[in-house]
């Protein structure tokens, strides 16, 4: 298993879910820009599941040295790298913030996924799980920089799924709604619509096992986004969402 964005609580919960389900991996590659916290996680799974892992530094905001990724091979890639940034109101015109959001969620991320997709295409086997977001389903004034980067990512995953279909590589797009993580701590989220990382991991793991294409976490978000998507634009543009 390869984890892209190993500091993510959802990614960590996914690893734990797979391991407690009895899966064993020769090694789990933990790609991260946060070595300190990822080291703790590596020890954690070693203690809990006797699972080997290897940490590889990867900062999407810096030049990526692909030679460090040559030896990284697996039939499962879980991509949780992402950056929420500040809300639109504070930071719409802060170009550094916008650039970072677009880079980490899409522009710099895609080449890394492509690198592994190519390996999977060659071995004609594998699954890529990508964490996108419900924010990508329609641009709303509250966070459309983040939302549009996730929309691009969703479209990318959809295309990749289509492209790799006859090469026996499967792509799972995950669209989380509200999540109770470090990234969202302090936000006033409705608890009924909010998934814990553990809950999310369970949904994602099930979807992975069933070879689903696109899943919402929690499932209720599928319905919410359907409604948001069908609102006609001339009404939508006047709404405060």
């Amino acid at each position: 298993m390869i984890i892209l964005g190993s500091n993510s609580e959802v990614a960590q919960a996914f690893v734990e879910k797979a391991l407690s389900d009895g899966e064993k991996y020769p090694v789990i590659y933990l790609l991260t820009s946060h070595r300190e916290t990822t080291e703790k996680f590596a020890k954690h799974i070693e203690v809990k599941f006797l699972q080997n892992s290897e940490i590889i530094d990867l900062d999407l905001m810096k030049e990526i040295d692909f030679s460090t990724l040559e030896k990284v091979n697996s039939d499962l890639l879980f991509c949780a790298a992402g950056f929420l940034g500040e809300g639109t109101e504070e930071a719409l015109y802060d170009y550094k913030n916008s650039e970072k959001i677009i880079s980490i969620n899409f522009a710099k991320l895609v080449p890394v996924i492509n690198f592994f997709a190519e390996k999977m295409e060659r071995q004609r086997f594998g699954t890529i799980i990508g964490l996108s977001s419900v924010a990508g389903d329609r641009g709303r004034q509250s966070n459309f920089i983040y939302g549009s980067s996730k929309a691009a990512f969703t479209a990318y995953l959809s295309g990749l799924r289509n492209y790799l279909f006859d090469k026996k590589v499967h792509i799972l797009t995950v669209k989380p709604g509200f999540m109770d993580t470090k990234m969202t701590e302090g936000l006033p989220l409705n608890p009924k619509l909010t998934a814990s990382p553990k809950q999310a991991a369970t949904y994602i793991y099930k979807a992975f096992k069933k070879q689903k294409n696109v899943v919402y976490v929690l499932p209720i978000w599928g319905l919410i986004m359907l409604i948001i998507k069908i609102i006609p634009e001339f009404i939508f543009k006047k709404m405060k969402l």
């Binding site: 609580e9 946060h34 300190e36 916290t37 703790k40 996680f41 020890k43 954690h44 203690v47 809990k48 809300g87 509250s142 470090k182 701590e185 302090g186 936000l187 006033p188 989220l189």
Partner: protein, 443 residues
């Protein structure tokens, strides 16, 4: 949406509810920033203390300090971060033939909380408090420095921190010794006691058992006062096990857990329903003595079976009142306490009686002293303050004291027993209330 870390927070009793700055961090540097930038800080684990102990103006939640660090499977020594819950530890250690030496009646407490409360279990008389098995911990102190504390290294800080209610700093991680078990089953005997004399006799005759605890019906009056059931238990050894359980003697028990979905309306729990509950519980067992083999979940964590059971007490919440009265005056004190409760009609669903053994004099901040301890749940209502006042008076008259982990309104002469914990950085609402000498929690 804007971030706002000022949030409503309450511990397990849902009383008091306060709006305070609460933040969780997963890295040391961020925790140090939090400590640097704030005063009046307290650490909070899983919020399973009952009152205002882990509340303050600035709360550092340890819920993201949830990683295991090391596990010596040969010598039975586990090290983990302070936000790891006992429930998570059991999943890892049980299959390896280990259990915790000391566990309270819920497995949903954090390791940091276990140290700060120096928790006790049904085996206090035989095996003491959590601190007996604690080897070392890392403490972020008031100078914002990490201090390794053990019985040899920084022993002053070690002993001030165990039972110190988080007032000496933030416990970051801990290392402790585990208990060998051959199976996860408990050989349990339940003995029915008609009254207080009988239950005290049972306790004193059961001191050789590792685990002892009694459930007591606190609404009984007159001759029936102290009507109760004593449960005593021992870990089942490999050769004592039946064939059915023999295949997997170290099995993790996971039960389907019903949830209480919402706060029950106030009228549901009253002295009438409590009487029915108590009657059912007591009558469930026909014979004087029942022997059976039960799994560890049933024996140690019967309440964990129902998630969010605290909501049964309604929105206003409840308090748990746990006191200890020295052994020699135990019976007389308990009789007075039980009479007072029965008279008040403020029935407690779950009244638990236990005999504590000798305390470890080094662990001077720990609650247990040799004697009888009773834990009661009371729904918060306007009469409660009055009842607690009366109970406090009895506890004081008999030279007892109150468990801080449960306390939300007791008098400071019974709760002000902590030593060497004062500093400018860490303080809880509870500690402030106690130092002010009165109750600030409004009903």
């Amino acid at each position: 949406m804007k971030k706002n870390f000022i949030q409503k927070v309450a511990n397990w009793g849902n009383f008091p509810v306060v709006e305070k700055n609460i933040k969780s961090e997963d890295s040391l540097s961020k925790i140090q920033d939090f400590v640097k930038n704030n005063n009046q800080i307290i650490a909070r684990g899983n919020g399973r203390c009952y009152g205002d102990a882990s509340l303050s103006d600035n709360i550092l939640s340890t819920k993201r300090l949830n990683k295991f660090i090391s596990f010596d499977r040969i010598n039975g020594i586990l090290e983990c971060e302070s936000g790891v819950l006992i429930s998570e530890i059991l999943e890892v250690i049980i299959p390896q033939g280990y259990f915790l030496y000391v566990t309270p009646g819920t497995k949903f407490i954090s390791v940091g909380g276990a140290i700060a409360s120096d928790v006790h279990g049904k085996n206090h008389h035989s095996e003491g408090c959590f601190s007996e098995y604690l080897l070392e911990f890392d403490l972020l102190d008031e100078k914002n420095e990490i201090l390794k504390c053990s019985k040899q290294e920084n022993p002053e800080k070690f002993w001030a921190t165990v039972g110190g209610m988080g007032l000496t700093g933030i416990i970051l991680s801990a290392k402790f010794k585990l208990k060998n078990i051959e199976t996860t089953f408990i050989r349990q005997e339940s003995l029915k006691a008609e009254n207080l004399d009988e239950i005290f006799e049972f306790f004193e005759n059961s001191e050789s058992w590792t685990y002892n605890v009694a459930w007591i019906d606190c609404l009984q009056k007159g001759n029936n006062i102290g009507r109760s059931i004593l449960l005593r238990g021992e870990h089942v050894l490999r050769h004592e096990i039946s064939e059915k359980n023999g295949e997997n003697p170290l099995k993790i028990v996971s039960k389907i857990q019903p949830k209480i979905p919402f706060f029950f309306p106030d009228f549901i729990l009253n002295s009438f329903t409590v009487k029915i509950f108590n009657w059912l519980y007591y009558s469930k067992q026909n014979r004087k003595e029942v022997k059976q083999i039960v799994d560890y979940e049933t024996f140690f964590y019967p309440l964990d079976f129902v998630h969010d059971w605290n909501k049964i007490y309604g929105k206003k919440g409840f308090i748990q009142y746990q006191m200890v009265i020295p052994k020699e005056k135990g019976k007389e004190g308990m009789r007075k306490i039980l009479e007072t409760i029965a008279k008040s009609g403020n029935g407690s669903f779950l009244a638990v009686l236990k005999l504590f053994g000798k305390n470890n004099p080094q662990a001077y901040n720990s609650f247990p002293i040799e004697g009888y301890t009773l834990a009661l749940d009371f729904k918060v209502n306007y009469n409660l303050k009055n009842l607690v006042g009366k109970l406090d008076q009895i506890v004081e008259d008999f030279g007892g004291r109150i468990y801080l982990t449960k306390d939300a309104m007791s008098k400071s002469s019974l709760t002000g027993y902590l030593k060497n914990v004062e500093n400018a950085k860490f303080v809880s609402l509870q500690h402030k209330r106690i130092m002010n000498g009165g109750s600030i929690n409004k009903i």
